[in-house]
């Protein structure tokens, strides 16, 4: 086994698949025309954009390709959804409801609205597996609530929220509902009607598409104040020359993930996920699973806290063994704060610092998993031996 090639961080980003890259290729230099142009040279690019828009709409079960806006990624989709609806509805009310475990792309956008535009935001708590309680949502609704935004699946702990139910509560109160589905698309079924959502964010690089391209679904009739001013692209809802190769790549990646083999392979990923979870619980004491088990967990997500040790040290040791994983610890970003998601689950700061996330996808093998399961306990032991908190 080539030790230096185990990639267990697919929730962070994925490589562009060969078939996706191939489809993108001619749009860099052959069909490079600006889709807004009139002449035949630009026809290929404008057709490619239309085709992609139809595919995204179809994939999400949207009624109409006009409900799709292409953006520069998940972050922009979240920003546009949250600021766009909040600002469009600000005369109706200035209250937003979200959860404590959202991605920073939603959380910091809510904070921006609080700090700069006088919005009030309710951050719903979650239970110890990361679930939002629909009763809490009901209680948080106020007459001036204009937007509810709750992520479909959490990027750190893999918890899949009961979005259909939460969306239904929003709608029966006539409130717009947005979900960040960046981690869900191509992993679990995502249908905007089944989910009762008005807006939904996705990002191509999370499912073997390219970085720098995403989309926002906006249900017809949903008021949205554009956040990128300029040309008349995207029906005036998102200005800027279209990233045509990126849009083609997003479309090709969705098609790749729809393939039967890929769909069936998800069972194998779930098997690998559960193997890791079970073996860690059997072999490493003081290990605490973060997030739920079974169906309500993303297929490829594993997240543990290992008491008495710190996340970055684990990552560096794994890296020396050729394994790329990640930690909830935000140490590297210059903040001293551990993961807000783990704290929301009720973990102490100390425990939260010791988290490890493994995120699998189709390219991962059982051999890789076994190798990881062999190396991890040694690393945990080594670090615990060094830890002043551990009374071995």
């Amino acid at each position: 086994m080539d030790e230096k090639s185990i990639y267990f961080d697919h929730a962070a980003t994925t490589p562009v698949a060969p078939e996706v890259k191939e489809e993108m290729d001619p749009y860099f230099d052959k069909y490079f025309g600006n889709p807004s142009s009139l002449y035949s040279l630009a026809m290929d690019s404008s057709r490619a954009v239309t085709r992609a828009r139809e595919k995204v709409a179809d994939f999400l079960g949207a009624d109409n390709e006009r409900e799709i806006i292409f953006t520069s990624g998940g972050t922009e989709s979240d920003n546009l959804a949250v600021k766009g609806t909040a600002m469009a509805l600000k005369d109706k009310g200035k209250h937003i409801i979200t959860s404590e475990i959202e991605h920073h792309a939603v959380l910091h956008t809510c904070q921006y609205l609080e700090d700069n535009l006088d919005f009030e935001v309710t951050y719903l708590p979650v239970d110890d597996e990361g679930f939002v309680d629909p009763q809490d949502l009901k209680k948080a609704i106020r007459p001036d609530t204009v937007l509810i935004t709750i992520m479909m699946a959490n990027n750190e702990i893999g918890t899949i929220q009961p979005i259909a139910k939460l969306g239904q509560i929003a709608h029966s109160n006539d409130i717009i509902f947005h979900t960040d589905a960046v981690q869900s698309v191509a992993k679990v079924p995502v249908d905007v009607d089944d989910l009762n959502v008005d807006l939904l964010s996705l990002s191509a690089h999370k499912f073997n598409g390219p970085k720098g391209i995403g989309a926002l679904y906006v249900r017809q009739g949903t008021k949205l104040l554009p956040q990128m001013q300029g040309g008349a692209q995207e029906k005036k809802r998102r200005a800027g020359t279209e990233n045509v190769p990126g849009i083609v790549g997003l479309r090709a990646a969705l098609e790749l993930n729809e393939k039967k083999e890929r769909q069936e392979d998800i069972q194998r990923i779930i098997y690998l996920r559960d193997k890791i979870i079970n073996k860690i619980e059997d072999n490493i004491d003081a290990s605490i699973l973060n997030g739920p088990r079974g169906d309500k967990r993303l297929p490829g997500n594993v997240n543990f806290c290992f008491r008495y040790i710190e996340g970055e040290s684990m990552l560096l040791n794994l890296d020396m063994k050729g394994i790329a994983a990640s930690s909830g610890s935000a140490c590297t970003s210059g903040s001293l704060e551990p993961s807000h998601v783990l704290l929301a689950l009720g973990r102490s700061h100390e425990v939260a610092h010791g988290s490890l996330r493994v995120s699998l996808n189709h390219s991962n093998t059982e051999k890789e998993v076994d190798y990881f399961l062999e190396e991890l306990p040694k690393i945990v032991d080594k670090l615990r031996d060094m830890s002043p908190l551990y009374e071995g």
């Binding site: 008495y308 970055e312 001293l336 002043p388």
Partner: protein, 142 residues
């Protein structure tokens, strides 16, 4: 991100462990911030004759702990007190900027241990913990 020297110390940390009946102990950091270092010293005739550490923390925290034990080993207390966080970072060929303030605490643990030794006597546990907290606070405020 880290220099080769940091990674080398992280991979093969020097002087990991505890000293039984140490002459001095220094501890800095707290679990909230994700970095805790504990230094154990043997001191004979004003000279550091043995030094060991235990650290809970990131790569920088481990490497700086390891480096400070190397730098202090065999030094007299006055020279040891001259070791600063900057000395340690330099000896490691530098640290990423975001690590300079949050994980570069080893020299403070050393100072803390020496002061603890000099103020000698009882009540050690107490004052030690307090100091750790205070030191940490100053660092964060930077």
């Amino acid at each position: 991100m880290y220099s080769d020297k940091v990674m080398e110390h992280f991979n093969n940390p020097r002087n990991v462990g505890e000293i039984e009946n140490p002459d001095a102990v220094g501890e800095v950091g707290n679990p909230v911030c994700g970095d805790i270092m504990k230094l154990f010293l043997k001191i004979e005739d004003n000279i550091i004759t043995d030094i060991k550490f235990k650290t809970f923390g990131c790569g920088a925290a481990v490497a700086t702990s390891s480096m400070v034990t190397e730098l202090a080993q065999g030094k007299d207390l006055e020279s040891a007190l001259e070791i600063t966080n900057e000395t340690v970072a330099e000896a490691l060929d530098g640290l990423p900027s975001q690590k300079m303030h949050c994980s570069n605490l080893a020299a403070e643990a050393l100072q803390e241990a020496i002061e603890d030794y000099r103020s000698a006597g009882d009540d050690t546990e107490e004052s030690e913990n307090q100091k750790g907290q205070e030191t940490k606070k100053t660092v964060e405020a930077k």
